[in-house]
Amino acid sequence: MTVKIKEWPGTALSSRDIEEGRVLTVRHKLRAEYEWDAGVAIGRYLRELKNGRLIARRCGGCERTLLPPRMFCEECFTPTSEWVYVGATGTVNTFSICYVRWDVVRLKEPLLPAVITVDGASPGMGILHLLGEVRPDDIRVGMRVQAVWKSPDEREGAITDIKYWKPIQGG
């Protein structure tokens, strides 16, 4: 309350007022369903994840190795020229320790998203994924990590075919 107002005017709504229909509400649940075509580049990327491999595209112009792969180079604006496999190891470029879930629930075990520059891809190119088997306090920029894959029969051609990336011992 403030100096001037001892009691807020009006009647507050409670969730029960809405649930029990005491106030007028309109509900609309949007059925927005999509099936995005992955395309040539990302389609192959996902198929190779199912095979337990990371694949990139090389640009013949700037000679960069683009990961995730694309069929055109955004710098040269030319078609990329060849498929190349890159390693499933890399270096932490940046990370965040997330103690709050998207629905604002506090987490004791934080989620550990990180951008990883992948060995064999051009500098600054790699993958946004999760870290695991690591204490949050031990994570550093520049830390060496490797992919931990799901077993072949669990893989389905999705970014989650990699469970997470863990530190390379002695790396």
């Binding site: 309109v26 995005w36 075509d37 694309r70 604006f77």
Partner: protein, 384 residues
């Protein structure tokens, strides 16, 4: 007097009912490569600004414009989105050049309709949530309401609308970019299953995937580029009202007012005599007739009779949608306006193949943002 602006390059990605092999990025790249080759520009050096028209709900990704730079050669360059029809984007590009802020501007629009599993539900989301959606009708019911009132007021007939379908689907047969070409009879259209009556199944343009990229340049640089310039003589856009309960149901006043702006800019006082042909929105069959009347090309109530007399056929005095329109060429969401513009550009360049009209100097492209909108755009294009 602001600098004149020309479309100096056009490109499209192949229009198909579905495009499972390509992502929207790969599709846009295909259109962009063709447009830049046509204009003789390198997007990494020669383009000052890029505009995309897109609507997040159609794409299934919010803030969608953030995903467009790479495939347009626009990374690290000025980019923005116009959430509207392709001709809104085109007008915006022309204005950027008029102001002197840019000399060469790129406009992009596309449809990846086949990515949507529940397009009618997504379309319904554009309707008023409190007093319209709860009635539970499919979004196309508004077109049925509009058609009833338009026919009642104008005196055009159900048969005239069927003739539009017949004409545009036949025109599409000669256009390699059109996907729904067919030879249908008046009876085929009239006896097709009713949908949102008076609309039948064949009166509604079917969706397709595809996209366009266009390069615009000011007069001071257009001559140095490789593209065959087609000049923008005038443009306009207008929105009536969202009020379903009180809008004008019997005429497309938004198109009339948009055209008025474009005609004034182009110095046109008698559109029928001063234009050679038009590509107008035909998302639903009756819309072609309604738009033709609103554009002042014929008088209110005359459009159906004109078609009956053959005036708007490819060989007539004023050909309309010789490309096949959206009924024959597929509806491309926010790229629909650029679809119309693309066909006008090809006609004026003499590159329309089997659909080519003889001796055309000046044409009009018009778009409508589809249901439930009352928004339309008009652009006048000319050879010299």
């Amino acid at each position: 007097m602001p600098e004149r602006v020309a479309i100096v390059g056009v490109g499209y990605s192949d229009i198909r009912s579905i495009t499972p092999g390509l992502s929207y990025k790969e599709m846009m790249y295909e259109a962009a490569v063709r447009a830049y080759e046509d204009a003789g520009v390198n997007p990494r050096k020669d383009v000052d600004s890029f505009i995309s028209v897109s609507e997040d709900f159609w794409e299934g990704t919010s803030i969608f414009d953030e995903y467009i730079p790479d495939q347009l050669g626009a990374a690290l360059r000025p980019v923005h989105t116009v959430s509207g029809d392709g001709i809104h984007g085109l007008a915006c590009a022309a204005m950027l050049i008029h102001t002197g802020r840019a000399r060469v501007v790129v406009v992009e629009g596309h449809s990846k309709h086949s990515d949507m599993r529940t397009p009618a539900h997504i379309h319904n989301f554009a309707y008023d949530p409190i007093y319209h959606r709860p009635l539970g009708a499919h979004p196309h019911h508004l077109a049925g309401l509009e058609m009833t009132r338009f026919l009642f007021e104008s005196g055009n007939t159900r048969e005239h609308c069927a003739l539009v379908v017949k004409k545009n689907m036949a025109n599409a047969l000669l256009n390699p970019r059109a996907v729904y070409g067919a030879r249908v009879s008046l009876r085929d259209v009239l006896e097709a299953p009713p949908t949102f009556s008076p609309l039948g199944e064949l009166d509604i343009a079917r969706p397709a995937d595809g996209g366009f990229v266009m390069v615009l340049a000011g007069e001071s640089v257009a001559g140095d580029l490789a593209g065959d310039p087609i000049w923008i003589a005038g443009y306009g856009w207008c929105t009536e009202t969202p009020a379903i309960d009180s809008r004008l149901w019997g005429e497309a006043i938004y198109a009339q007012l948009a055209a008025k702006q474009a005609y004034r800019m182009a110095g046109i006082t008698d559109p029928f005599r001063e234009l050679d042909f038009a590509e107008v929105d035909d998302s639903f069959s009756y819309k072609e007739l309604e738009h033709l009347e609103a554009l002042g090309i014929c008088r209110h109530g005359e459009a159906g009779g004109w078609l009956e007399d053959g005036l708007t056929l490819p060989g007539g005095d004023f050909p309309v949608n010789v490309s096949g329109g959206s009924l024959g060429g597929g509806h491309l969401l926010e790229a629909t306006g650029l679809h119309r513009v693309h066909e006008v550009v090809l006609q004026l360049r003499g590159q329309a193949g089997e659909n080519q009209l003889p001796d055309v100097e000046r044409g009009l492209a018009q778009s409508w943002r589809n249901l439930p909108t009352t928004t339309g755009c008009v652009v006048i294009l000319e050879r010299a």
